[in-house]
């Protein structure tokens, strides 16, 4: 015959097991709920990667002509994705032939592309910078940078440093405004010192 003490322990154990099961059920349910919410949030995010013009805080939604303008989502969602900027890898889009932007509109303009990588070694503790001319000259003309922003002779541009770039000088003319932003350190600082 079980004693009174034994009966009370088994009752307590039973209570504990019930509580444990209830706790696990609760956890399971709430995790499922969280998962569903997160998945739907992800779906919403995928759709609003590019805000519609009427909601971008710049365009006047009462302008009837807004309907005639191309929506960024329609054009940009088909291009190679990126995590920053327009969420488009523009260099890849051009290389893969997904876009074919005109290189000139005036007859007689000389379109030049230069395939030359420049290593900038004085980068302190950061990996060295590799500047690829090819990707830049596919988009830009030599005169856009030379000689008023960068000297043509390697290593002779005075005052080129990260503080100036963050202030919008040198590379910062484009990177941080229209080309991939300065948060992407490793895209430029890509050559590890031996």
């Amino acid at each position: 015959m079980p004693s009174v003490a034994q009966a009370s322990t088994s009752r307590a154990r039973h209570k504990m097991v019930v509580a444990l099961i209830r706790c696990r059920q609760l956890l399971k349910q709430s995790m499922l709920f969280l998962l569903v919410i997160l998945m739907s949030a992800g779906l919403v995010w995928a759709q609003v990667k590019h805000l519609p013009l009427a909601k971008d805080q710049l365009h006047d939604p009462t302008n009837p002509a807004i309907l005639l303008l191309q929506e960024p989502g329609e054009a940009l969602s088909k291009l190679p994705p990126d995590a920053v900027g327009n969420q488009v890898n523009w260099v890849k889009a051009l290389e893969q032939g997904l876009i074919d932007p005109r290189a000139s509109i005036l007859p007689g303009t000389k379109v030049q592309v230069l395939d030359l990588d420049i290593i900038l070694p004085r980068t302190g503790e950061m990996p060295m910078v590799k500047f690829p001319h090819r990707q830049h000259t596919e988009w830009l003309d030599c005169t856009n940078c030379h000689d008023h922003i960068f000297k043509s002779k390697t290593g002779t541009t005075p005052g080129l440093n990260m503080f100036q770039i963050l202030q919008g000088e040198f590379c910062g003319r484009c990177h941080g405004a229209v080309a991939f932003p300065l948060t992407e350190c490793k895209r430029c600082h890509s050559v590890v010192r031996q």
Binding site: V48, K49, D141, P181
Partner: protein, 126 residues
């Protein structure tokens, strides 16, 4: 149970809000030095739209646009005369200058400058 659900819901909403873009496209430029004073909406220039169709060098080399928002003093009369935007916006390559609302499409009161997040201290300075 309900409290847990509410907390989960709030957390998910916060996460979703964190993920959603709250700004215009990267590189969108507002031009409002004269527009509103002259009684029209500010101009919104989308870099993304033009970049799909033209390389940077077309506008920033052939057309003579300086690569610094605010440093190009473009007047409507220049455009009508075929300079700056008017090199293409002439009813031949792109819509002509009579289609006011297509370019002058910004909200009233917007300051001039570059938009779209991610920008650092520099290029956007007006």
């Amino acid at each position: 149970m309900t409290a847990m659900r509410v907390i989960c819901g709030l957390f998910a909403i916060w996460l979703a809000m964190l993920c959603m873009p709250s700004h215009a496209e990267y590189g969108d430029v507002v031009l409002n030095r004269r527009a509103e004073k002259e009684g029209v909406r500010p101009v919104i220039f989308p870099h993304w739209f033009h970049r799909i169709r033209f390389r940077c060098k077309v506008c920033h080399s052939e057309l003579g646009f300086q690569m610094r928002a605010g440093s190009n003093d473009v007047r409507m009369s220049d455009i009508i005369d075929g300079k700056f935007c008017g090199m293409c916006h002439n009813d031949r390559i792109a819509w002509g200058p009579a289609n006011c609302d297509l370019c002058h499409s910004g909200k009233r009161g917007l300051p001039s400058g570059i938009n779209g997040g991610d920008s650092t201290a520099g290029p956007g300075r007006w």
